[in-house]
Amino acid sequence: MTPEPWQDGVYAALKAAGVRQMGYVPDAGHSRLIDRFHADPEMTAVVLTTEEEGIAMAAGAHLGGSRAVLLMQSSGVGNCINMLSLPIHCRMPLFILVTMRGEWGEFNPWQVPMGSSTGPVLQAAGVHIRRAERADEVVEMVAASARFAYDSAIPVAVLLSQRLIGAKVWVK
């Protein structure tokens, strides 16, 4: 019997945390989660043109008494910086799952600069970061980080390492 993919455990943890909105710029590493959100009538999944839209959407969700999660790739973190002043100044929760590029078996050198600065940039902006390296730690980390973000009303990002996601292979 194949074990349940960790992505399904992550989805269950997000739903248990009360998440009802999800904003995303697509990433292959998030595709299973994105499908789960779209398939669930209790959830509203919103495709974004750029990641900072999701920061603002999550603020609106909070104002309306709901909870949003954002899914993005490390390259998208750079697009969010000024918009992060919204949840930080307004003391709102923010919860982001970031799939990492540019760090483990990366074939595309254009991914490396933002991949290298994702963690430091988020921390400099005031976002708490956690980093998952192994499948057996992801679900618990997401569940605890979601409680941290929503219950303490602070911005939190969980970085899902490229080793965990699996490096993209273009040449087979």
Partner: protein
Amino acid sequence: MNNLSNALLDRRQVVATLLRDTADTPGGELLVVTGLGSTTYDAGAAGDRAENFYLWGAMGGALMIGLGLAIAQPDRRVLVITGDGEMLMGLGSLATTAAAKRPNLSIAVLDNGQFAETGHQSSHTAHGADLAAMARACGWSQGEIATDMPGVEALRPRLRREALFATIRISPEDVPRFLPPRDGANLATRFRAALGIAAS
């Protein structure tokens, strides 16, 4: 066409009209999000209320805050009031909100063709960019333009009942500064309290 020469509407009068009798809204008090800069001052000058969430930063985010709020409160009406410069920074959100299709979300863009806050530098709408046409092209089924007060009066009930994008041409003249509250945490807390959301 985008002709600003007849844009003589007073922005304070426009926003006071849009926000007149906010209780006269399906589902209860109109929920309002304003964009960084003059529209925040205009809404405050029209009468500070807990159901106004004023942006003093986060430029380009007003419409997306409206979307998150509209999804969270499907039985309430959300009106975003912002300026041409703020809307231009968040152009992608026209596509995102159109694709998300929320029947309880409308937006009014006050267009003076300028970045008034920073010294009246002309904006893209003064050079031909047509925000209502962009909204329609993104999938907003209604992209209206008002150039006089009867037009604004006609928009007022529609902005509370339809999923409407409206551009309102206003005078670029300066108006007396009015500064509504700017502590974001307090603004968020009182907004949520007005919706009956318990403090966490």
